[in-house]
Structures are given as structure tokens and as C-alpha cells.
């Protein structure tokens, strides 16, 4: 177990380093001149040259990269116009936002978390519940409805669902405010009211996928010998389905759920754009529009980190749910 974990962490670190190298090369080596987008329109040649100096763009590429890495692990000193000392997880300084990239992220990360986590709870409960029920009631009208729901949901687009929800609940029924973010601790009711449409839009689309998947898994499990054995032993239905069948059926779903949540945490770009909520995804879009390289690069790194960590968590969860899996 311990050896496995170390091995996994090492390979994750390797992947992240590869991601950082690739994105570094892409952003700082590929463009003709990385700074052109970085300062406002009235930039003169002198100011551009100063930015170039401070970012160390005139140094050899490998030194620039090592400096960036050093900043992440130990922090580093940036020029005075970049806010001076930049502490340990230093991801650089954004000229566009006039603050350290870590400060921007500290502000927008809670927003994305508030969008994704409740939505994920909703979509898992809804999707797995629907899938399991429709597998147990196979061939009934309920099953047909659930299949129709998952087919529709799998072909819908978030911007479409989100826009329809906004038209109905905000502009026609007028029972919800325009989507916005209020910190949870400040005003929990307002927090929920501002985000509830985004949760449901995400939950609708994702639960369609999960309903389909868990239905198929459950059907497969129900035809296994150990379920028949359990039934033959006279165990109550609730125990057979709830404990034996569900536990076996849910393992592959855990894998996909982990990756989906990991991916979503890295920025629900479309959701945030559709609902006009300023989270990690929207920050990435804005950074791209403004040519804000340090922020773009940090977003890529962070969202890759979420996926890689989610992968590890999934493997560990897998082992604890499914006793047949031995981690080596």
C-alpha cells in the first residue's frame, strides 16, 4: 500500500512536471513576443523592455523555467513592479490584474468549489439513484423514462440548458435572482440562491451520463452468480440490492466520478461563462483574452494538478470499495 502510494505520487509528479514544461514552452517560447499582450494598449517600447527584463525573458529558456519552478517550491523575488517578494507557491505576477497570480486564485477558487461540489453531490445522487432504480424496474415505464432522460441529457449542451433555465426561472417566473457568488459563510441563503441554477444545469447533464452508466453496471451485476446466491440464501431484497449489488456496481462509477469532479474543479469554463460567475474557468478565459501569460500558465498547471490528484484519489477509493483490488 505504502509503496504503491509512493510510486503513484512519483508518477504524478512526473506528469505534472511534463505538463509544466510543455505549457512553459508553449507560452514563453512559441509566441513571437510574449509581452505584447501583457501590458495595456498605451504601452511604449521602454515599458515593454522593462517588463521583458523583469520577467527575465531575455535569459536563456532553461533558466527561466528553473526560476519558475523555484518560485513554486521556495518562492522568489520578483522585480519591484511585480510586488517584490512572492511567497512559496509563487506562480508569477499578473500585469493585467496587478496582483500575484496566487492572490487571484485565492479569490476565485472558492467560487469554482462552490459551483462544483454541490453540483457533484446532486448529479451523483440523482444519476446513480435513477440508474439503479431503472435497472431494478427494468422494462417498466419508469425505466423507459429514465433511458429517455439520459439520452436527452447526453446530447444537451450546458450553455443551452443554462440559458433555458435562466429564461424560465429568472426572466419569466422571476423567482430567482441573476446568478452571482456570495461567500457561503457570509450569507448561506444568498450563496445557494445565486448558484442553484448552475448546480442544476451541471447536475442535469452529468446525471444523464451517470444514470445510463449505473443502469448498465447494475444490470450486469444483477445477473452475477453471487447475487443469485445471496437471494437463494433468503437475504432480504434491500440487503442484496443495497449492499451486495450496489457495492459491486458502483466501482467503475467511482472512477469516472473522480475524474469528472477533478476535471470540473480545474475550471467549469462553460458553466461560469453561461451564468456569468467569476470562478477559475472564467478567469482563464479572461486571461486568454488579455494575453495574461502567467495566469494562463498557472490555470493549466492547477487544472492538470486537479486531474492528476483525482486520479490518485480514485485509485485509493477503488481499493477501499472493491476488496478484490490489491494495490501494489
Amino acid at each position: 500500500m505504502f509503496r504503491y502510494l509512493v510510486k503513484r505520487l512519483l508518477s504524478a509528479a512526473l506528469t505534472l512536471i511534463a505538463v509544466s514544461v510543455v505549457s512553459f514552452l508553449m507560452f514563453f517560447a512559441l509566441p513571437r513576443d510574449p509581452v505584447t499582450g501583457m501590458c495595456p494598449k498605451n504601452c511604449n517600447a521602454e515599458r515593454l523592455e522593462r517588463v521583458r527584463q523583469e520577467l527575465g525573458l531575455n535569459d536563456p529558456k532553461h533558466e527561466q523555467y528553473l526560476g519558475y519552478l523555484k518560485g513554486i517550491f521556495t518562492g522568489r523575488d520578483l522585480g519591484s513592479s511585480q510586488g517584490g517578494r512572492c511567497d512559496a507557491p509563487c506562480l508569477g505576477y499578473s500585469y493585467v490584474n496587478s496582483e500575484a497570480v496566487t492572490d487571484t486564485f485565492g479569490r476565485v477558487l472558492p467560487v469554482t468549489l462552490s459551483v462544483v461540489i454541490p453540483a457533484a453531490v446532486l448529479w451523483l445522487l440523482l444519476g446513480v439513484g435513477l440508474g439503479v432504480v431503472s435497472a431494478l424496474r427494468r422494462g417498466t415505464m419508469l425505466d423507459g423514462l429514465s433511458i429517455g432522460f439520459s439520452l436527452t441529457g447526453a446530447s444537451m449542451q450546458l450553455y443551452f440548458v443554462g440559458a433555458v433555465l435562466q429564461i424560465v426561472f429568472i426572466y419569466n417566473l422571476k423567482i430567482l435572482p441573476v446568478p452571482h457568488y456570495t461567500p457561503l459563510l457570509e450569507n448561506p441563503v444568498d450563496w445557494a440562491l445565486g448558484l442553484v441554477l448552475a448546480w442544476w444545469a451541471l447536475a442535469f447533464l452529468f446525471s444523464a451520463i451517470y444514470a445510463r452508466l449505473s443502469r448498465a453496471q447494475m444490470l450486469e451485476t444483477l445477473s452475477e452468480d453471487f447475487i443469485r446466491t445471496a437471494r437463494a440464501q433468503g437475504q432480504p431484497k434491500s440487503k442484496v440490492y443495497g449492499r451486495h449489488a450496489l457495492r459491486a456496481a458502483i466501482t467503475p462509477i467511482v472512477t469516472i466520478a473522480g475524474l469528472d469532479v477533478g476535471g470540473a474543479l480545474g475550471g467549469t469554463v462553460i458553466t461560469e461563462t453561461t451564468f456569468g460567475i467569476q470562478g477559475l474557468g472564467r478567469t482563464a478565459v479572461d486571461a486568454v483574452r488579455a494575453g495574461d501569460l502567467p495566469t494562463i500558465m498557472a490555470t493549466v498547471l492547477i487544472s492538470a494538478a486537479f486531474i492528476v490528484v483525482a486520479n490518485i484519489v480514485v485509485d485509493l477509493l477503488y481499493a477501499s470499495i472493491d476488496p478484490r483490488v490489491r494495490l501494489r
Partner: protein
Amino acid sequence: MASGITLIVLMAVALAAPLVEAMYGIGPHEQFQYKLSSLGGIPLGYLGGISGEHWFGLEPGLGRDIFIRLVYGMRTSLFIALAAAVITTVIGVVAGTVAGYVGGKVDAVISWIIDFALAMPFLIVALAVVPTIALRFYGPREEIPGWFRVTVLIGVFAVFGWTGTARLVRGQVLSLREREFVEAARASGARLGHIVRHELLPNLWAPILVTFSLAVPSYVTGEAALSFLGIGMVEPTPDFGAMIFRSLSYLETDPAYMVFPGVTIFVLVLAYNLFGDRLRDALDPKSKR
């Protein structure tokens, strides 16, 4: 069946877009400003200005015809999606076959590249890469031609999309490699090319066809998503994603503007998904209905 007919109709409409334009009598860039309200530029009449002349109404603001823009938008979208699906399938099949058949170090390298590509968050990376590539070839103030944007989009999908097919093919080849008929061919001195073409591929075409047919709708939505975020196709090229993004500003005043492109892309993707599912059921003897 219904999905197949819907697909054929939609693809025919997209393919014959100029013909549709000639019959419909309105071009994608014609503006009908006089049919908009002078305040706010909202189309006059019901449901976003639907009339016998403008079947799906007019765009608020510029007053262009929505129907003909959707026809052209579908053409761009399907062209990009089909091209990307063909390229990713070819790359995926080649990489998967090589990794599965040759094995050893080659397999290890290809598998690691696949894992690496899967760790890259697609939307964020695409968001970051597309403008960078454009900056490499064009200055920040230069006009970027449409064909260049199309090429970049197809390229981005190609770089990220091949991994799924490659994984699938690799797995299949790994098990096929050990089968008697492949061994027999090898024992009788068949070359690699012969084994791949005559022993492996004939057993692979069914899963490849299914992944291909399911890849197309995923690129349709991917293209729309990138355009929605403003890094795919841009004005004045007609495009689903760009249209829906514009419509977000009119949700309160002209909701019909959002509905038509939204429903069109939904129908297109649904038809492809249903078709792909049917194809899988028809080709895979193990899948149960």
C-alpha cells in the same frame, strides 16, 4: 432509423448550403435593420421576428436571418467535426496498432503519451493554445482568416482526440495478437504490413466505426464550445457556439434568439448519438438491447 434520416437531411442541408441560400433568397450576411425596433434593436413581431420570409426570425442587433446562418453554421461545424474525426481515427488506429502489436518499449512510450494527454484539461489547454498559435503566425492587430481558424481547431482536436481510439485499438490488438490465426500468419512468414492489413484490421473495423460515429458529435459540441468561449470561429462566420454566446446578452429581451441555435445543435448531436448507439448494437454481438 429516424436518427439516420435526420442525419442525412441535416448533412444534405449543410452540404447544399449555397443551394439552400439560393432557394431561400437571403444570404447569411444580409442585414434587415429596418425590421428591428429602433430602441435596443430587438426584432419586431412575435418570437424573435418569425415570418414567412424569416423562418427562424432575425438576430437582434444586426438583423441577420437566423435560419440561413444556422445552415452555414452547420456546414462549418460538420466540416470541422468530420475532418477531426477522420484524422483522430487514423492517428488512433496507427498508434494503437503499433503499441499493441510491437509492445515493449514502444508500447510503454505510447501509453505514457496517452496518459499524459489525458491529464491535460482539454478546454483550458485549448483556450490557452489556440490564441498562442494564432499569435505565432499573425500579429495581435492582424485579421486572422477563417481557414486558418478552421485548421487550428482541427489540429487541436487531432492532438487531443486520438488517445481514446488509440487506447481502444491497443487493447483489441493486444488480445488479437495472441490468437491462432495471427500466429499462423506470423509462422508462415507474413510481413508486419500484411498482418496488420489482412489479419488485424478486418477484426477491428466494427469498434473503429463505432468510435468514429460517436467522435463526430463530440467534435461538433467541442467546436461549438470553443466558439462559445470566443476562440473558435468568430464573427462574421456563422457558427453555433458564437451565436449562442451572443444570445446570452438577449436572454431577457429576445429569448427566441437562443432557442433556435440551441435546439439545432441538440438535434444534430442527438441524431449522431442515437445513430452511433444503433451502430454499436448492430455491430457488437455482445451488446444487449
